[in-house]
Symmetry: D2
Amino acid sequence: MIQVGIIGTGVMGSDHARLLSTVVAGASLTAVYDVDRARAATVAGSVPVAGSVPAVRVLNDPVELIRDDAVDAVLVASSDATHEELVLACLKAGKPVLCEKPLAPTVESCRRILDAERAYGSQLVSVGFMRRYDPGYLELKAVLEGGWIGAPLLLHCVHRNTAAPAGQPSAMLITGSAVHEIDISRWLLGEEIVAVSAHAPRRSRAAGSTQDPQLLVFESASGVLIDVEVFVNARYGYDVRCELVGEDGTVALDAVAPTVLRHGSVTGAMLPRDWRPRFAEAYRRELQDWVDGLHADQVPRGASAWDGYAATVVAQATVAALESGVRQRVELGPRR
Amino acid sequence: MIQVGIIGTGVMGSDHARLLSTVVAGASLTAVYDVDRARAATVAGSVPVAGSVPAVRVLNDPVELIRDDAVDAVLVASSDATHEELVLACLKAGKPVLCEKPLAPTVESCRRILDAERAYGSQLVSVGFMRRYDPGYLELKAVLEGGWIGAPLLLHCVHRNTAAPAGQPSAMLITGSAVHEIDISRWLLGEEIVAVSAHAPRRSRAAGSTQDPQLLVFESASGVLIDVEVFVNARYGYDVRCELVGEDGTVALDAVAPTVLRHGSVTGAMLPRDWRPRFAEAYRRELQDWVDGLHADQVPRGASAWDGYAATVVAQATVAALESGVRQRVELGPRR
Amino acid sequence: MIQVGIIGTGVMGSDHARLLSTVVAGASLTAVYDVDRARAATVAGSVPVAGSVPAVRVLNDPVELIRDDAVDAVLVASSDATHEELVLACLKAGKPVLCEKPLAPTVESCRRILDAERAYGSQLVSVGFMRRYDPGYLELKAVLEGGWIGAPLLLHCVHRNTAAPAGQPSAMLITGSAVHEIDISRWLLGEEIVAVSAHAPRRSRAAGSTQDPQLLVFESASGVLIDVEVFVNARYGYDVRCELVGEDGTVALDAVAPTVLRHGSVTGAMLPRDWRPRFAEAYRRELQDWVDGLHADQVPRGASAWDGYAATVVAQATVAALESGVRQRVELGPRR
Amino acid sequence: MIQVGIIGTGVMGSDHARLLSTVVAGASLTAVYDVDRARAATVAGSVPVAGSVPAVRVLNDPVELIRDDAVDAVLVASSDATHEELVLACLKAGKPVLCEKPLAPTVESCRRILDAERAYGSQLVSVGFMRRYDPGYLELKAVLEGGWIGAPLLLHCVHRNTAAPAGQPSAMLITGSAVHEIDISRWLLGEEIVAVSAHAPRRSRAAGSTQDPQLLVFESASGVLIDVEVFVNARYGYDVRCELVGEDGTVALDAVAPTVLRHGSVTGAMLPRDWRPRFAEAYRRELQDWVDGLHADQVPRGASAWDGYAATVVAQATVAALESGVRQRVELGPRR
């Protein structure tokens, strides 16, 4: 049984707590920490206590949690600004850590994590790019690797959220939303992004002063073009799609609804309001795979610290492209 | 941790073994039995041994397994003819049992189980009608209960398998396949089936002497008509669908593929070859729910012995309708 | 230029008038008749008069129209009860006639038309089963005849109208609506229907005393089963679909919408409110083909008097099956 | 009856000849010309001669055809380089002309046509941007104008052909294919394109030295971004799609197949091999509308000379953007 401690029990952390304590096999949730202690206590209290399973402890300090003997592995779901410090503490304690994206918000902080993991000598860090576990993206990759569509040429992506907080900085559409497309493109294509551009259409009135939507264009090392519409005030629903275009065919991913309703002159299906129903299975598989890997003492199979670093570098370059209106080259340096 | 023993390690039993030992939270597989001891040993050996989890034992006798102190609950996945004896043994031992469908192949054997469970005094028996856990059927039921389509009038069902063993008796299409539609109709509509008819079209050449396909018509207590095409040599793929027609609208369930491929002048999606990928998530949720219920000492939420009995009664009446060409009334007797 | 006269200028007749005068090549509308002379005059006046095209004349008597020298061919779209007399008058005048379905409402009246056409010596009568010209049904037939799905076994049909007049006789669902499925099944399969059954589910409250919906089952000469849900108060929209199941695959026909709207948490497409948008192209092609055939002095390619007779015989047998609850055999007699 | 002469009887011209002589109401084909006289004679001979319709004459000179007394209106479907001269000749003769796209291949030649039409004093010129008559694009426009999706922000377009001739110049993807998206964007949005960019991904091996595919980005006057993937060696089929994204929702257009086939583990629909089946109905409506307008002495409702000019200006700017790698501003000058 892998004993997991969770740092940060907001929307993401509390859902991870539920999964780890009631859905994922081979794991138990033993400790939680949140800056809001009451919130942490609520999450701890919601875990069903069955038989010999001890109650989840609420700790007062995240580093204390990391060092705790009853914590074998750590899940970091606290605010972005805390990621670097907490991941470094996990490396110092020699404990596996699954850190929600982004690994860290600046290129420099990501580099410090890469350096620390290299110094530690083996891979402890995983980054929560859960789409790599989504059945749809997995099927997309299987179709590509099965040779069905030939060599890839273009990847068209749409990433729409129902609504974003008023006054959200324009850069957040890239660092918070399109960063998923950055990671999934690298993973799908198996290569790095080497240049980025950004086009800014007319802003939606619902977006206020935020540049929303945006049309981003990434170029892969081999010349595949990835265009991403990111639109965080799309109002009608949460909608993530893509189409991978190859030399011989294309494969597209869309939201799938298990039922179709015909009512009031319309035939249709419901769209989710946010990402949680859409990616619920991906989160479950991500955590199960992380726990399975820890049982088997394997190198983590999910996104690595390098992947987290690369996503941050590309995202920052894209922010620069949006702000300057000029195409930016991306330099990752040698892979560590 | 619920310690589960599995009786029968064929296709279904071995998949349950995998789920219970690596995917379902809160359960461990402790013992297996199969008439083919080598097959049982293979399944036992395939369970990953991690940390303090003891190896799965291979027992020599199913009743020994039921009585074993390291078995809290039993999963019966052996041949249909053994179900009655094994379920009765579980009731005698006072152990919860999840029995694959059918509960038992004859009406009389089901009645004996109902009697034994009543004598025991509380509900121990669950029947593996896994579709009740399928996200699609759950959404169908939610749409109906949400009032979106008004009161139900008709339910059109299609149940197609790729191929069946040569020489399969015609009754098997009803007792082995359409029995799922019998259960899911009762569950969806919340009422019993009171009469059945069967129409026999021209046989498919691939079916040999088996009457395949068949068109069955069930009548619910309130007058809803359920028609079921069952076709077990459909060749092109596994295909389970239905459409529920209400006074104000309809809701339909179809296979959903997460990706669409465009290749060679066709736009399309892959169909599964059998029921396992289609209902993988339903099986996972069924087992997780069963284990969760055992932890919480709750009445099982899945299909009960009564549901298993009703399915067998309706299936037998439908076989009689097919063989006689005459509509049959269904008499369940008072609910026990 | 084929000069066409139209008898009956209600919903169907006035749309045919529009098509013949402004869309169909090689035809001109020269005369109209309706029991409501004002309605006929309105239709005549709505035809654009361009260049040398003479105005459409409104005649006072349908037989006068049939005999008129400026009428080469007649389109009968008046009430069902008038069909026999008018079609016989066309045969007497030796003029080609396209009669809206049904050819005539009784088996005997259809037989008299068959006799009269045989006496005339060549085929003058066409029946307006327009679905034979629908691109979807044509593609269905092409897929079947191309061998893609193997030999046919089952045909599942759905025929739903938004609403029917209150108090409509239950038989009207068969003679007015399902008669389209009777004809299209015969045409698709290329064989006659030899027996019919009817199942009556609970009535929709919107249907009042009408038995609505109904589930009809037809058996073809070779043993193909055709089941038809007919539901004329389906409320949510007009919806005609079918799935043809063969030994090797299936092909399905559904309403197709050219666009998909995502709005308000729904992804969906509009359904038509009635049959006119759904079959607009079928009507255009039916009339164009009829006119083309007249230009070329060919035997009409649409439904013949025999087809009209067969549809009425099967429909009457189905009414008897619904009223008696007993399966009826269908006897067409030797083809004339 | 409008007497039409056709100049150019290749793939497009011969199909127009068929439509005008057998499908379009109110028109007759009276004369044809082609540089290949045998080809023109074949087309003329294929027109069915019915009743009083005179045979189609094959003329020896296009200007002779334009001036012919038996030609009321001219359809120009000859090679692009001939368009200017022929359209100017029609204007000189005062005859309505429907010119296949492009109106003319250079901005200057288009301007000369605009000048000549202005000098003539009324609108005689139509340009064959047939998509404006496609039921799908019409529905897209109706959804936008109905306010269903709010104000438009982005338009994502895909334009794929199965294969292009080897060695096709890269500019041809813009001037021959994407020009349809240029026109339809202007028509849908009701505004001009003011700037263009082009991104060049890795070339498909099937494309040889042609830059294929391309990703083009157009900016409308109000700031709507239009991105167009044009890919003329997509191999798998002909595929034209778009999605219009508004502030409140989106509406998408895809190829629609009337039937769905399930066969060999796939559920799918056929894609067309080229544009003809996809836009057959659009061509029919375009010609019928042109003929109807001539009967009614109306200003043509299809694309005008100005639309043809604008499309050529934007296309030329896009070619410059592709070749230079630099965003280009588009200057149309005052609308004439």
